[in-house]
Amino acid sequence: MNDKPTSPLALTVNGREVSAVVEPRTHLADFLREQQLLTGTNIGCEQGVCGACTVLVDGVPTRSCITWAVSCQGAEVRTIESFDEDETMAELRAAFTAEHALQCGYCTPGMLATARDIVTRLPQADEARIRLELSGNLCRCTGYVGLVRAIGRVLEARRQRNLVEA
């Protein structure tokens, strides 16, 4: 049973160069969780629907459950564990907790990855746009109320700062 084909893989995970050997069928989430022991990336559906496993691949939010690990040759992957010192994520964490944007916490790493993308890519996003952008991340606990408010709060704070700086 151990004669599965394997492929060499070299990529950057959270700023660290990683070399590994993976089965072609191994998806990125399993690679991160089982081989790199980065369990902050939660698996929700393995069907590419719920968004819980969202990570950044070359800066783009990506569903790691439907991304083959071997397709990430040479890529830069960032998981939730790499954002402790990130200023934007710190702002989002403060807003998430103030607005009660998480309950069980399982969707949270994926939500934060998407939220960081929204606030950096779409500085003018309004509530409707935030909801649209969040539509690829399911949450079963919060009814999205706190999530939408938290992201809106960070966007508004960033807009205010930009006005001041300008």
Binding site: C45, V49, E81, C104, Y106, P109, R140, G143, G146
Partner: protein
Amino acid sequence: MNAPLAETRAQGIGVALPRKEDDRFMRGRGGYVGNIRMVGMVDVAFVRSPVAHGRIRAIEKPEGCEGAVYTLADLEGVQPIVANSGLAGFKCSAQPVLAGDKVRQVGEMIAMCVADNRAAAEDIAAQVFVDFDELPAVVDMLAARRAGSALVHEEWGDNVFLETFIDADLDDIRSKAAIKVSRKLRTARQSMAPMEGRGVVAHWDHRLGQLIVYTSAQMPHINRTGIAGCLGLDEGQVRVVAPDVGGGFGYKGILLPEEVCVAWLAIKLGRPVRWLEDRREQLTANANCREHDYDITAYADGDGRLLAVDCEATVDSGAYSSYPFSACLEAAQVGSILPGPYKMEKYRCRTWSVATNKPPILPYRGVARTGVCYAIETVMDAIAVQAGLEPWEVRMRNLVLPQEMPYDNITRKHFDSGDYPECLRRAVEAIALPAVRERQRRGEADGRRIGVGLAIFCEQGAHGTSVYHGWGIPMVPGREPVTLRLTPDGVLEIRAGVHSHGQGMETTLAQIAHEVLGIAIDKVRVLLGDTGITPYSTGTWGSRSIVMAGSAVGVACKELKARLIKIGAHLLKDEPAMVTWQAGAVVGPHGWKRIADIARTWYLQPQLLPADVDPRGLEVSTTYQARRDSGTFSYACHAVVVAVDTALGKVELLDYVVVEDGGVLINPLVVDGQVYGGAAQGIGTALYEEMRYSEDGQPLASTLADYILPGATEVPAIRIEHMETPAPYTEFGQKGIGESGAIGSPAAIANAVNDALRPLGVEINQLPITPRAIVEALAAASAASATQGRNA
């Protein structure tokens, strides 16, 4: 002298405090079962039945992998899961942890395969050959009740787990009622679908002589009792740890056959064994919920005053009776709570819990209340139409009044407190009913039809021994235990047998401790979920934890405070009567002693203690029972405005208001979160979620692309208004609120959609109200009116 006061901030009851537990989740450090890594750990994949009903003729293990595959024959001595009810007439059944001679649902486990990782275990599972004699599948619960149906459990002679009947003579009502309305209503089978599925990691600890089972569960002590029973271990040999749990909603309130199998294999192999439920297993194999059928008639006088309700209700309980809530709790609850918050003269209800070849059901957030609310609130709107009244007017005429509280209703439910009419009035005001009616009259530029709907209900929560022993199920909640312990540096440890899977109890229980002791909440550690370090409890279900465990924490903190005062006064050389308790310190005329000072004295400087010090020290174990254990009754009114696209069948929620009375709120931020989240799940029930089955019992939704959960674009910005009528029988006046949000939304939304469609002669009487359901109903109505036109 002011120093003790200066270090406290407002952290007690009623403060919308951000949660202590958030940080680890936001940094990817949540401690879910799937994150556990142990040396030598192996993974399990199960061979599951591809047929809904069949006899197993043979199971062939793949050549060369025989040692990696286990069937029931290998699990010598393992007992099946049994969850019988003591209610008269309940038919007993047993669920083998792996199938024996028969399978009764798609997804039932037949063999367990083990390998170094899940993918390799699935490779083995794919090679296991099972030979079946297929049997006709029992799929529809009403057909299942008819004579001649195939039988899920042949030895019963029919497919009914339990029939209940509350009788009443309705002859006089029938003769005097000016209004009679009847409806046949159906709610879909649903999947609870927490974001995290179930998961188990088990290993045998030789030092402790103990099986350690990590499992994503709401009721770890109950799982421990169940696992020990199935494996023939004494409970001291089993420790169950439910670490961080990624959502529960009822789905994780069950003893799983997977837990028993994995635990058995861990002992057998002498190494850690893991099984993580994937989404396909969660949707197609494991427990569902909510499938109800109602044939309901209500009688009212000409002014819309209810005279009687007469109902036949059927619940599809699936193939097995799940432990510990059993196959009959849901339907029996229908019978006891269908009257809702209303007064009536007579009530008759017959219920059936029916076995089918589908997964067993579990109580989902709201349990039967969601279906019941949909049934009675549909009928209330029908009465309003006949009486020529606004829906709120009919409700106002039938609600229990505040001056009648506490009120024993027709099924002897004891409504504890509240002002139901005020709740309704505020919801109608908040939704701006006259403006909505005006908008309806005006019409929409885009042709969509506007509708407004209401639902008002009460939710019995935290009900205890006197209620539950009547169900006769394997578990009856008793006095709720809690243990407090101070460390030498003054940290308060709270150990409680309930669990938190999003409810924020690491914060709210700490707030209660702060309320009594004035201790800063960052000096409070709340320990949950681990049977090794928490007292035995039935766990978290039934909107009970903040009422039961929260009250227990309050009682225990008061006891601890008394002991601290006695020691503190001695250290201050004052009489206890001379000192006061202020902000976490004993304060006398000449100084103060903080909790940490007293704790250090107890543990490390006992020579300073008074000679008559309480020998129980600074550890308090106590239990709590409400002054009356018939439950708290929170209540709410949901009001919603919809726009229905009659061409596409799409429903948009334009406005959504919840007026809610949860008694005294411990943490309004957390309560709002529960209400929002519950309402969002109710929106799923109303409009999106259905677990359909083919005629031969095949589940038709196996991914989250087929089973539609509401997303951020489907859930509106819900508005909440609070009332706070204290509960009369609980420690702080708090009421159970956790399930409430999910109860009202399906009824309110269905009533709103039907309000929008009524001018077109259409009423939809099933959930979910999908675009297809709307378009088909409109097409049928238009075809019928065309036929009438031709015949005229």
